[in-house]
Amino acid sequence: MDALGLLNYALFILILAGIYGLMALGLNVQWGLTGLFNAGIAGFFAIGAYASAILTGPAVAGRVGGFALPVPAGWLAAMALAALLAWPIGRVCLRLRSDYLAIATIGVAEIIRLTIRSEDWLTGGVRGIAGVPRPFGDLPYLTAQLAYLALVLAVVVVAYRMMERQLHSPWGRMMRAIRDNEAAAAAMGKHVERRRLEAFVLGSALMGLAGALFAHLNRSITPDAIDPMIVTFLVWIMLILGGSGNNRGALLGALVIWLIWSLSELATDRLPTEVAIQAKYARMFLIGLALQLVLRFRPDGLLPEARRTRPRTQDHP
């Protein structure tokens, strides 16, 4: 192990943590701020990944493609399409209460996954799409990773700033009011359904963008990348562990969970094969254990949502 290798590995971890962080930010708008239980993150991730891959990728016989749009256009389209898809889903599903919304979104994500697997003319079916361009991908290994990390971080920082502004704006206060007491917010004249739809669409657009970032990183996207186990549930754990309702918590949770996930394998590699094969499964157990411990000892997450515990004005007796 040398310093250069360690650096390359660290860059790689940060890139993936950034992509997952973006999804956690999106989920934070939906769950942390608005209380929408979206269990279909993988679906929106997939829409974004495939949209950008199809629009920027090369032409292949028997499949829609060859538009060769510039990468930023692909990323914008990924957000737009994920948002566009979230809109009708939200219109139909957001009238359901939390657990029913979760079931509906799981169903939608599964429909998306099966559609992608079977519609060869659009998505390449089970073989997916290869040859997706990667920005700065032709540079040497270290520089290419640095450049891509800079891109991902820039996207994450912009998204984070926007989410923070939203959180502290009147819109953010209204969302929390709706989350905490829907009836009261409605009585105050707030349009509950429309606000929920806004949060749902906004969060889904971020998930779509994360999908696009992931597809371009690997220059390919295949249906096995949209397994709910490693997209939806991992993102949920990240947000819960980091602290739902807190954007910094969402990002921290993404980093911590990805570190546990990745570093724990280094430990299991040192074991003999027979044990090591079983120990690979212990990684999933570790993630679950981390979640249990956080829920037991810090139920609000590592960085809990900032709440006003005292009234703003203290001049009354």
């Binding site: 089970v126 990667r134 040497p140 690997n218 295949t222 040192r270």
Partner: protein
């Protein structure tokens, strides 16, 4: 929190320390968790057999130990890139056997191993997408692309006078690839597909699918699936209900677990195609050695996993441990001409390499004459069941 992160990082660094300078490391990335987890243990064991033989016969690069680094590529891009990044950057492996699944190979090659200049040999990725990868000649396979086997099977059936068949294939990379290439070749040479449909994995019953296939009138059913998975269910239910008389499968169906579950006497009308080594001697040596070690030589991708590890060991020795020369060396040791080397003949190969002679590895799964894309054409035979095992009937062209 920062303290905790540092602690985790420090622990990992401490664990990574025992990297003794004298070791030569080789990465083994298999889909240990995930969709093909059932097949992985055998593949890992087969690759480890090759590494143990290297170490037992004098080691690599002048007496150094070849140390395997096992990673979980999970059959998905997220885990595969993560495992590859660790193998390449932290463990500093010289080359990698794996990853297992095609999506994992595409992602790991694109974002880690090709930029880092590390050679990978996948023993089980069969997607034609891997052929087209812009890989700077660093990505190889010891398993043929699906495009070959389906076509060869179609020609073999036509040669046996089978003109009309019904096809059902598992809706994944493997099944779809075989199905498509079989369909194209079978129809191009005058065969007729009475029915052609995909099925999803992990269902308890396929009776409705089977009855639909049976209504097509064909009496031969071609199943592209795994014999220790849903392929077994389909075959059993087709037999129980008398939907078809004859059955044909590809290498995934060449499973002894299936014979045990259904019984050899019920499988008299089953034919399966599977890759075979050019010299059956190579396969026999592998079977003997792997059985002696407690492995199942008929396990899916056991032979290709073994060959991938043994070939990379040869290439590392040939390249003198220089990461950047391993790909070129791999071509040199795998392709003709040269002194033939069979599985397990590490001491002999080492001596030949030291003498500067050209060698040509003849593997358990085939000759491994890599083409320009790093693919192998594969040689196949048709097998039928005799006693409790498979017996080759004819070679397929």
């Amino acid at each position: 929190m920062i303290r905790k992160t540092l602690l985790v990082a420090a622990t990992a660094a401490a664990l990574a320390q025992p990297a003794v300078a004298q070791d030569a490391r080789i990465g083994l990335l298999f889909g240990i968790s995930g969709a093909i987890s059932a097949m992985s243990p055998t593949m890992v064991e087969a690759a480890r057999l090759a590494i143990e033989q290297v170490n037992a016969q004098g080691g690599i690069l002048g007496g150094r130990t070849l140390v395997p680094v096992l990673g979980d590529s999970g059959c998905n891009p997220q885990n595969a890139t993560d495992a590859a990044s660790k193998a390449v950057n932290i463990d500093r492996v010289l080359a990698i056997v794996g990853p297992s699944c095609s999506g994992a190979v595409l992602a790991a090659a694109n974002s880690v191993t090709v930029p880092a200049g590390v050679t990978i040999v996948s023993p089980s990725s069969t997607s034609p997408q891997v052929t087209k990868l812009a890989d700077k000649d660093l990505v190889f396979r010891t398993v043929p692309s699906d495009a070959y086997q389906g076509a060869a099977l179609a020609r073999a059936l036509l040669a046996r006078g089978v003109r009309t068949v019904a096809v059902t294939y598992l809706a994944n990379d493997y099944g779809t690839g075989l199905g498509e290439s079989f369909k194209a070749e079978f129809e191009a040479h005058g065969g007729k597909l009475a029915a052609y449909q995909a099925h999803d994995g992990a269902k308890a019953s396929y009776r409705s699918e089977l009855s639909r296939l049976a209504r097509s009138g064909a009496d031969t059913l071609v199943i592209f699936d795994y014999g220790d998975g849903t392929g077994l269910t389909i075959l059993r239910q087709a037999l129980e209900n008398g939907f078809f008389r004859n059955f044909v499968g590809a290498d995934g169906m060449k499973s002894e677990a299936m014979i045990r579950a259904i019984g050899a006497k019920n499988l008299g009308t089953l034919l399966v195609s599977a890759p075979v080594g050019a010299g059956d001697a190579a396969l026999e040596i592998f079977r003997r050695d792997f059985t002696a070690r407690g492995g199942n030589p008929d396990g899916i991708f056991a032979t290709t996993s073994y060959d991938a590890a043994f070939l990379l060991a040869l290439a590392i020795e040939h390249a003198g441990g220089d990461r950047s020369k391993i790909a070129a060396s791999l071509r040199a040791v795998a392709t003709a001409p040269g002194e033939p080397v069979l599985p397990g003949e590490w001491a002999k190969a080492k001596k030949l390499i030291a003498e500067g002679r050209d060698i040509d590895y003849k593997g358990a799964a085939g000759d491994h004459e890599f083409d320009a894309h790093g693919d192998v054409p594969g040689t196949y035979a048709l097998f039928r069941i005799a006693g409790d095992t498979f017996e080759a009937v004819t070679r397929m062209e």
